[in-house]
């Protein structure tokens, strides 16, 4: 029951915010209060059940359309829980980061909370149809958040996002329905191991599912929707777009494609790993060429998501553990960087790398934490990303040396462009006299970025905090894929 409550409580929050009188300060406070509830509940779940997630008190099967084998089945499993927790944290942070939004604030928060319900649901669902419904529930709110509150390029960006991901998920649904019909149930645990399907059938069904999920990740060359929508979104939408949304794709790979169609995905795995390596290199080079800060971080995201694909493609315990962990670490660092870029842009009026410079003297906190985010992003030891990236490369190299080696080069690229960016943006002389008088991060902004920075360090030193939770689920996948952990 607690799982259901935690999933849907933002919906009550949306209702509450919608019914409040239209006073921006009250709405902001109420939204923050609402966002705190799932965060507290998720933390409670972590501390109370962290050791045996998936145990009785957390899974629920309330029946639904039983004649078709479709059920309201939710539960916390090790694969999704890290992201569930992160969703709660990032929704809270996104509310803090939306302080500068002044138009139609109420509607913005309603959409944000509805999107959160969808995200929660994806990470917690244990039924294919339910998974798909939650997956699509994020689509309209995110479309509107970009399309209404984004910058001047928002409409084409939002449209592209909608069409790409809609086509992707329609493809995925076709695979889901085929799997459910042939398997006789839509329950994820009931279908585990392929539900007696022949290898040929599994391979055929895996194709549309993988394709749909790879659009969401997005894997190059299916990434066409990502750049415009990342760069034209408001900051707090960016937090969810980059922090959570791509993981709806990766969690689908981890929770549906691999365990439910182990024989079907096996032939695709080397290609998934190769796509991962391509993502890493493509994202790295493209990031290097960017003149806009947000574009740079967006391309670096494409690169980082490549490591997740590499780890998933590896299909071994190290790689998968790295991938599951990297979902979380990427969410933390990309949100941190996007929020701080938002702060920079709000103060200086520009996101152009060439027009910024010397910010660390004027805004030591924001710029300092930007450096923390940058160092974390390039995978410096001591930060969480180092651990997860290292694990995916290890796993990838072990399974497919070429793909692993190519991806490893991406770490080098990351170091180059992040150092270059930091040198130009926060160090060096102040390029514009107008920057002399700008203010450092406000207390609200600090409340959003300090916890994220700390979390990067905490998980960097104690990755076991999450690996412990996800390990059993990863072992199950490895066993299903026929490997030994």
């Amino acid at each position: 029951m607690i799982t259901t409550i935690t999933i849907f409580i933002p919906l009550l929050g949306a209702l509450l915010v919608a019914l409040l009188p239209a006073d921006d300060t009250t709405i902001r406070r109420a939204a923050l209060g609402v966002a705190a509830v799932p965060l507290l509940l998720s933390l409670y779940i972590y501390f109370a059940f962290g050791d045996n997630l998936g145990a009785a008190p957390l899974s629920q099967d309330a029946g639904w359309i039983s004649s078709l084998g479709i059920g309201y089945r939710v539960g916390m499993d090790g694969l999704g829980f890290g992201m569930f927790l992160l969703t709660a944290l990032l929704a809270f942070v996104a509310v803090l980061a939306s302080w500068q939004i002044t138009t139609n604030l109420k509607q913005y928060f309603v959409l944000l909370f509805v999107a959160q319900v969808g995200m929660n649901g994806v990470f917690a669902s244990q039924d294919l149809v339910l998974f798909y419904i939650f997956f699509e529930l994020t689509l309209i709110p995110m479309y509107l958040m970009v399309g209404i509150w984004g910058d001047e390029n928002r409409r084409p960006a939002a449209l592209k996002f909608f069409i790409f991901t809609f086509l992707g998920s329609t493809t995925m649904l076709a695979g889901f329905l085929a799997l459910g019909i042939l398997g006789g149930t839509f329950s994820i645990s009931g279908l585990e191991g392929g539900a007696g399907l022949s290898t040929t059938a599994q391979i055929a069904i895996a194709a549309p599912i993988l394709l749909g999920l790879l659009v969401k990740v997005p894997a190059v060359p299916l990434h066409g929707w990502l750049m415009d929508v990342y760069t034209s979104s408001p900051t707090s939408t960016n937090v969810l777009l980059s922090g959570i949304l791509p993981k709806l794709g990766t969690i689908g790979l981890l929770k549906v494609a691999l365990p439910l169609l182990p024989e079907g995905v096996a032939p695709y795995l080397p290609y998934i790993a190769a796509l991962g390596a391509v993502n890493v290199i493509y994202g790295g080079f493209a990031a290097f060429l960017q003149t806009d800060l947000k574009s740079l971080i967006a391309y670096s995201s494409i690169g980082t998501l490549g490591f997740i694909l590499l780890g998933i493609g590896a299909g071994n315990a190290v790689g998968l553990n790295g991938a599951v962990l990297q979902q979380v670490t990427h969410g933390i660092y990309s949100s941190l960087l996007f929020i701080i870029v938002g702060i920079f842009a709000a103060r200086t009026g520009t996101r152009k790398i060439s027009e910024l410079g010397g910010l660390i003297g004027r805004m030591p906190w924001a710029a300092g934490l930007f450096a923390v985010g940058g160092l974390a992003a390039m995978g410096l030891p001591g930060f969480a990303v180092f651990v997860s990236e290292f694990m995916t490369i290890m796993g990838g190299y072990e399974a497919y040396p070429v793909q692993g080696f190519v991806a490893a080069l991406g770490v080098l690229l990351g170091a180059i462009y992040f150092l270059y960016m930091m040198r130009n943006v926060i160090y060096g002389p102040i390029t514009n006299p107008a920057y002399e008088g700008i203010k450092d991060a406000s207390p609200t902004e600090m409340a959003a970025i300090v916890p994220l920075s700390l979390l990067l360090l905490i998980l960097g030193f104690f990755p076991a905090l999450l690996i412990g939770v996800q390990q059993p689920a990863v072992q199950t996948i490895v066993a299903l894929l026929g490997g030994n952990s």
């Binding site: 029946g63 639904w64 359309i65 039983s66 004649s67 078709l68 509607q107 149809v129 798909y132 419904i133 699509e136 529930l137 689509l139 309209i140 509107l144 399309g147 209404i148 928002r154 409409r155 939002a158 449209l159 909608f162 069409i163 809609f166 086509l167 329609t170 076709a174 329905l177 085929a178 019909i181």
Partner: protein, 482 residues
């Protein structure tokens, strides 16, 4: 003959009798009413009649009442009762939404209500008929008043034009249908479904085939299935919006049910033939409706073509009804019809308030946020986006088709998926205009409480469908035919 009219048969006819009584009362009050107030009162009676009939139908369904009456010509089973509930529910909200229009028509309100009640009366009878001639009469009883409903708005030339087109094509359809019925009568020597089924089981003769083909063609006209759909946009364009909403849902649901009953109960031995016929019609109808809807500049015409497309989806569900798959296929039809009723009525009601031009929807989210959200819900549902009602309709059709084991039906199901994608741009255009564009005016005025209530009720039903779909699945799961 003795024993035809019994207490049982009266109970079986209870919903129809209630509607009939209200029809007569409304008609008489309308005729004798002098003042505007009395006329409003008369037209206000109709929704109560529908509610009373709804309650009676629920009682019949809940008590497990079933059986066949009047020499097996009239049957009460869960299938019939369920469709009656959909028809009555849709009629109720259409009548509520029509009150504003009725009050504008200079005292013709009672007539409008009488026509709607006549359509309801015909539709209720239609779903219970197990005899071809009775079925034809019930179908005409539902159709003839609907010509008048389309042409009701006499001040607009296009209303008369729409009514005229509808009348002419409708009469041809009736002739085709009747010819088919006569051939089937000649083929079986009886108009009873059971005798026709027996005749088919002895072999498919040319007369039997031709009768079947003409019967399905006649129904295709009435259901605006391509290539017999061309009256649809003009009729819906010309009709008062509440009538267009009502006609696109209530009599259509009953006509689909009647077609399904004939095919399943009277022609099980010819399944392969009608599956092919209905499957091809479904594919044609989906593509025609969606491709033509893409080109529309009026939201109302767009919805008219979209209703053609949705007829195609329902025909796809009918094509999936065969053999061991019958129950699932019938269930798909019932769920789809229910889902379609709530989302399509809502969309038409919003068009009644906002207007036809796509530009009128610009910035509706700024000027009338709740109305825009409601219309957004209807558009998303018509596309088939979860968690709204339309998604479950399409999902059932796809699941039923995928389990049919027939290659042709697999192709039909493929066409359903492809068409869902084709339909995205035109529904999405309304959505985008409402939420992302700047408003062009202060927004539409709606001071009509009944209309606003109907719109929000449909929006709520479209959204909570996801919660109650399990219950609907249970109810419709036991409502199989045959």
């Amino acid at each position: 003959m003795d024993g035809l009219v019994t207490a049982q048969s009266i109970v079986a006819l209870l919903p129809e009798l209630i509607v009939c009584v209200f029809l007569v009362v409304t008609l008489l009050t309308g005729v004798f009413a002098e003042s505007q107030g009395a006329k409003s009162l008369a037209s206000g009676l109709a929704p109560f009649g529908v509610v009373a009939a709804f309650v009676a139908t629920v009682a019949l369904l809940a008590s497990g009442f079933s059986g066949s009456f009047f020499g097996d010509g009239f049957v009460i089973d869960p299938f019939a009762l369920y469709i009656k509930l959909v028809v009555l529910g849709a009629a109720f909200f259409s009548m509520l939404a029509a009150t504003r229009f009725a009050s504008r028509t200079n005292g013709d309100g009672p007539e409008y209500a009488v026509l709607m009640l006549s359509v309801v009366f015909g539709a209720l009878l239609l779903v219970s008929m197990r005899d071809l001639f009775g079925l034809f009469l019930a179908l005409e009883l539902a159709t003839i008043p609907s010509y008048a409903l389309v042409a009701f708005d006499r001040r607009r030339a296009e209303s008369a034009e729409g009514g005229m087109k509808y009348l002419v094509t409708g009469v041809i359809a009736s002739a085709v249908l009747l010819y088919g019925i006569v051939l089937l009568y000649g083929f079986a020597g009886s108009a009873a479904f059971s005798d026709i089924a027996a005749a088919y089981s002895e072999g498919l003769t040319p007369v039997g085939m031709l009768g079947l083909a003409l019967l399905v063609s006649g129904f295709a006209f009435k259901l605006s299935a391509a290539p017999f759909h061309f009256w649809t946009p003009d009729a819906y364009q010309g009709a008062p919006t509440s009538a267009a909403a009502f006609l696109s849902v209530a009599p259509k649901a009953a006509t689909f049910a009647a077609l399904l009953r004939i095919l399943v109960e009277a022609m099980p031995a010819a399944t392969a033939v009608w599956t092919a016929l209905v499957g091809v019609l479904a594919i044609l109808t989906m593509f025609t409706g969606n491709l033509l809807a893409l080109r529309q500049t009026s939201v109302r015409r767009m919805l008219a073509y979209s209703s053609v497309a949705h007829s195609g989806y329902i025909l796809a569900a009918i094509a999936a009804v065969q053999g061991a798959n019958t129950n699932l296929g019938v269930q798909a039809v019932l769920i789809y019809v229910t889902a379609y009723a709530v989302m399509n009525l809502g969309a038409f009601f919003v068009v009644d308030v906002v207007g036809e031009d796509f530009k009128l929807y610009n910035g509706l989210f700024r000027t009338r946020p709740m109305l825009a959200v409601a219309m957004g819900v209807f558009m998303a549902a018509l596309v088939g986006l979860p968690p709204f009602s339309g998604f479950f309709g399409k999902m059932w059709v796809i699941l039923a088709g995928a389990q049919s084991g027939s290659v042709l039906v697999y192709v039909v199901v493929g066409a359903v998926v492809v068409n869902s994608v084709i339909s995205l741009p035109y529904y999405f255009a309304v959505f985008r205009n409402m939420f992302l564009e700047e408003p062009v005016s202060d927004g539409p005025k709606t001071d009509d409480g009944a209309m606003v209530f109907s719109i929000y009720a449909m929006a709520v039903l479209t959204v909570v469908f996801v919660v109650f779909v399990g219950l609907l699945a249970t109810v419709t799961g036991g409502a199989g035919l045959g």
